[in-house]
Symmetry: D2
Subunit: 436 residues, 4 copies
């Protein structure tokens, strides 16, 4: 994660300030619960809230950590400097560092998820708008990069919509995966702290208690979470590649918006490059690369070790910040994408009529020609069009073997574009619940 690819709202979630604030809230809520249980005096619990409006001094905490080599102890020592050493002496009682660290990490991931969910909703809105706008904009469908049969630009946006809608659903599941907290004490037995404390803290922090936590919250949850981010990133790459292809000089069916004053190349003033979607291709790799370490983090030794910690300190912020940025960037690209319908038609007719070959094949079969013969007849005429850019319809009309099966009218009828778009409404209804 670097500032270049970051947005402030997500960055703020991962600041030391936010982290210590969450630690503080966890500790303070825990004190309340302990006081309610009669484990610690009420006045000590109340005293902790004296620090409610304090902005903790990060340099001071770092200074203490350099001595203790333990971040939670450093924070607690600093907290006591605010609350009073005597009043603070029941803070953290019965808890272990993981109770604070793991619960805090999940709070941060939940907040990050909320932003990502909003990002996806914004992207869906942009895709839907463009889908309806170009529902009937015909262009050639391609398989293997080769012209296949006509489709519409609206269907392209619609398939991205459907894919991102699945991602929204996956993201909500991923949020649920990590919306748990644990205040279960050393090795997770609740020996030194009543389960009621966990319930209260989780309730206050918007989490549910982890059913069994053995000191750490189990990392299969986080593996599933980061895997979901990896899937979403891969979908971003999918959309990005389509746009990069469309913007190629030879294709030019769409282009990223190019602002006034923008320069495409330091050397070649004629250039307009799809730099945003190329960038998204790379960002997708960055999000994806966290998936395997997150899975390697699952196997901790016994009740816990901290091999996962340095990994999560990095991939927690890095992936959520990068994915947030990427989703936002993609939404802008979709929103402002320049679409060139005339170029779409021109491209489709590069080899005139060729893309209708299947219809002719089917018509021949329907007319009684065997599938093998029909294939041979169509391929024979198609190859002429490939080689000499003649008109496929005219080649067919001139082929006696074809004409033995199909009349001129029957052949001509096969070159109607409407044939290919007749089910667009059906598909839109499936995707958006509404055909028009």
């Amino acid at each position: 994660m670097i500032p270049r690819y970051s947005r402030p709202e997500m960055v703020a979630i991962w600041s030391p300030e936010t982290k210590f604030r969450i630690w503080y809230e966890i500790e303070a809520h825990a004190c309340d619960a302990q006081a309610n249980l009669g484990v610690i005096p009420k006045e000590n619990a109340e005293a902790v809230w004296k620090a409610k409006d304090v902005t903790f001094d990060i340099d001071r905490i770092d200074e203490i950590e350099r001595e203790t080599k333990h971040d939670v102890i450093a924070f607690l020592t600093h907290l006591a400097e605010h609350v009073g050493s005597d009043e603070a002496r029941f803070v953290h009682q019965g808890m272990t560092s993981s109770d604070v660290l793991d619960t805090c990490f999940n709070v941060q991931l939940v907040r990050a998820s909320d932003i990502l969910i909003k990002d996806l909703e914004g992207l869906l809105a942009a895709l839907k708008k463009r889908a309806y706008e170009h529902k009937d904009t015909v262009r050639i469908g391609r398989s293997h990069g080769i012209h296949a049969e006509p489709t519409t630009m609206g269907l392209t946006f619609a398939r991205f919509y459907a894919e991102m809608d699945r991602n929204l659903s996956r993201m909500r599941d991923a949020r649920a995966e990590i919306a748990t907290g644990a205040i279960s004490g050393a090795v997770g037995t609740f020996a030194n702290i009543d389960p009621a404390v966990e319930e209260h803290v989780c309730d206050q922090m918007g989490l549910v208690p982890e059913p069994i936590s053995t000191q750490v919250i189990p990392r299969d949850r986080h593996a599933a979470f980061f895997a979901t981010l990896g899937v979403i990133a891969s979908s971003i790459e999918n959309v990005a590649i389509e746009i990069r292809h469309m913007q190629r000089t030879e294709v030019l069916e769409a282009a990223e918006f190019f602002s006034m004053g923008q320069k495409g190349s330091s050397a070649m003033p004629h250039k307009k490059n799809p730099v945003l979607t190329e960038n998204l291709t790379g960002l997708a790799r960055l999000v994806r690369m966290a998936v395997i370490p997150a899975m390697e983090n699952v196997a901790l030794w016994h009740e816990r070790d901290i091999s996962h910690s340095s990994v999560e300190r990095n991939i927690g912020p890095d992936t959520t910040i990068t994915l947030d940025f990427a989703l936002h960037r993609l939404t802008g690209v979709i929103d402002k994408l320049l679409v060139y319908p005339q170029n779409m038609l021109d491209n489709m007719n590069k080899f005139p009529g060729l893309v209708m070959s299947q219809r002719v094949l089917l018509a021949l079969t329907q007319a009684g020609v065997s599938r093998e013969d029909a294939y041979r007849l169509v391929q024979r005429n198609a190859m002429k069009v490939w080689d000499h850019r003649t008109d496929f319809r005219e080649e067919l009309l001139a082929d006696e073997e074809v004409r033995a099966a199909l009349s001129e009218e029957e052949i001509n009828e096969k070159f109607d574009l409407g044939y290919h778009t007749k089910h667009v409404d059906t598909i839109f209804e499936r995707v958006f619940g509404d055909p028009t």
Copy 2:
């Protein structure tokens, strides 16, 4: 995937025989639907079912493919050899190869999922049985590999149960992700085939229609599927590592069952090695390594390309076969795991009483000592135990500063094991819904 790590039921799903059988069913059901729509003659649809009991000749299909370089065409040509070239001429009408290939692949993944779900259920049963069996078997909990505080072996099994239960739920979601089919024709527009055909075929094959398929079923589904397998594999590694640790010579709290006639080492006859769980550690890596390629597969060019195909031909069988084998192997390991309760007690007392340090710390704090002083007092006595293996309780009793805060009786009371296991029932209720 190699025979050594394979079970026949899962291997059968991926055999050429099964694949061609599924292709056949898709084509035959599609003909039925086409005939119902009046697109092709009923007798041609019926004729296809003549091959219902045929075992297709794989060598013959391979031979045809060597000429056509196209596997679906090779199969259709061979099918016509059974059905009759004339009767077969409407087979595959309006469809494209992807309709057959993608729908077949998902049928195979659904069947594989069903086996994996059964595997997970079996593993859960074994874990539950062992959890209740050792609910009260006390052993030392460890963090960082270092003795922390007492816990029970039952809690260890229970946490694996909870983790695998989450995996069961993830696996069911993953099954739903890929339980879709597509019969939408070239570039997915239904230009040449009515959506009703797709509905009929999916219904017959146990799938739901893919809302928008653009020739291929979108690969974000498969990325999510394989990512789930990767998470499950990581959980297997998590359990395996715990057992490997328990079987270490110095720990020896549990061991894989060692059968008569088994040889641990060709050179050292005294060895009993945790070879099954070491093996599972490696198998987990094999399943996990498919996650990134599955994500790289998401970004296809335009409506489709086939860069994903060679990847899936490998990881489809490899990951499901390996994971099935691993789950089954792990179930056996859990089921027959030798547990040594006496060794657990012996290990816990290696540094006598030391694992109770936190209780003493809390007691000192409760008695009015500041947290910092209490920590210092406890650490001072703990270090003596580390260095000289003396008894922690006796050190405390002999420490005047400690005794100024705590009486002999109060100190003695802190060394009661029951204190640490008092919430085991609570946790079992959370995990299994039943405390006993």
Copy 3:
């Protein structure tokens, strides 16, 4: 690895027959060395060679392994069935299974490397031939998929040559990484076997002794080996992507050879798809996915564990077989690639003259215009060509501000293609050591 993507010579290296043959040779050579040292009787060493021409019975070995659950012991038991139980009793003396397994694995990797080196040499020859053939075939260079400036097809082949030549060098280094053997006994101390045995066996098997082996050959070597295969696979993808782009319908500057009888699509007879290079894209992912598990294999517990074993049983054959197949396939693609020089010229002139924008920019600067103004002037005219497909040269000639700096002759001179190819010989000399 599946038969579809395998070649027999590489597959043979990984057959059980080959493996047992190598095990046999290691054991027999070790006996010779032991006899020379006087540790075992000469006649027993000689007796082992009685099995020299035996093809070992794999089913029988498997049967024994099912009882002993130890593959090396199973083999030794079977070997004794050939050699005679009494004569065989010194076989494997002082050795441990890893001595056989690890040394054998490295022998297999060395042999696989030799094939891969030959593959790379074949690919280099094909690339060189095509590079010289198209040294002067002008086509547009593209950055970001957008037309940039002219280059030649020969330079494209030359850059692939240079990249694959680096890969050849890396492959030779990788071969050296794993060309070590170890016969050091349990935990690698040579307690039970003299280092002279290791020297003799390694010498006979074409290896060098591992300096310090602690029972296993250290896996950082294998990590480096598989990482190298991953780099080579990525280069294959690089070439494949270029060809896939060139074959796009809109570009069509090159195409994979399309044989008689081949069918591009079951539905659309007009299709010629770049299926081989798409396939190579997927195969690259398969090779690459082994890199991380190979790195995870490095950290073994203490002197050894066998978590790496199941991984290597798979990735050893899978990656070498797949990479061999891919290199061979790519060589065929390059060798027979259809190149369309006329289409290259047509594409370059899609926006007439536009690709010369930099030269005009430089000329304006040389003529005293500030860099910023020059950029603005050129971009202004370039945008007209983008928007209306007019001729860039004519636009410039008509732009008074441009003409204030450059004469008609000076402008015309900037549109000479030879300007862009004047250093092709220099580059060829750098790459091939020979300009022509």
Copy 4:
């Protein structure tokens, strides 16, 4: 990368200040070369050096980039603000942004490599010192985590030394991989810039010219570079895991140095955790996760795209900073590692004499017992020791079948520790070139 796991010298290489400084030097040296060729006026080349001592204003450059959306153009505009717009008008002539960016990136990687090489040399020195210190410190060798046969702590350090020495050699190769520069202009044809400029700039920047660069320096080089960092990180994990195992409470053969004032746990004052090596385990994953994206970066479209750029902006600094930190941390751990020889002996004797089983096996075979019978005899007595912790030597002496083959003296002689360490000098000579 986060400050917590960073060292300033490496961080400085990746600062914007350093980057712009390198850009400046590349541009200034290029101007010199251009002036020598007579392409631009000498006074303009000299004028550029006016900015020699300028610290570039990063905020200003960012401000310009926000308008131009092009970082190199933004820098050049700012440079002109220092040098004078007129004097600066030949800066960057004939060059493209990639010439600056790619050459700069490689300069940074080379400098990073130099630090990493120094780190490895420091680690090797520490390992060597500890190896000789504990050359004869006997401890049990373990395979599968199970006691095998005696070895020495010095051999453990020696094998890490040998592995890191290979890594040093790999790191030097990796440095050579990326020590190339390119000043070849748009699409790399040198159309607008003479190859002599490239030679001069590379020479001044400590690089060699890339033989063929097609605008970008080919990314197979970087893939190989980052793969090497991944291998080194995996070796760090290998060492870290060994130390974590040794520090386990039950093993306690070594421990990380624990400073005064350090706190192992916020809850349990008795804890001393191997937190540094656990941390290294996680850092290894972070370095390793960059390998696959670096390989995905190899396949750029045509002459170039910038999908690799966002990846490299992250993994360039992240991996080198993390690896530098990890190597430095590991060196400290090794240097100060507490080693407990007495615990090593105690552990070895946990099952008295058992670890000598192989010698007895060999002795029985030498005495004429068949291998199978010998194995059975030894295993029979070993199992008694496992089950009842009796003394293996005494069990053997009491076993009549054993005694039929071996005398009491012969049996006793097999329990001599010196037998296992007799080749330590040989191995040290192999590793260090010097036995003592």
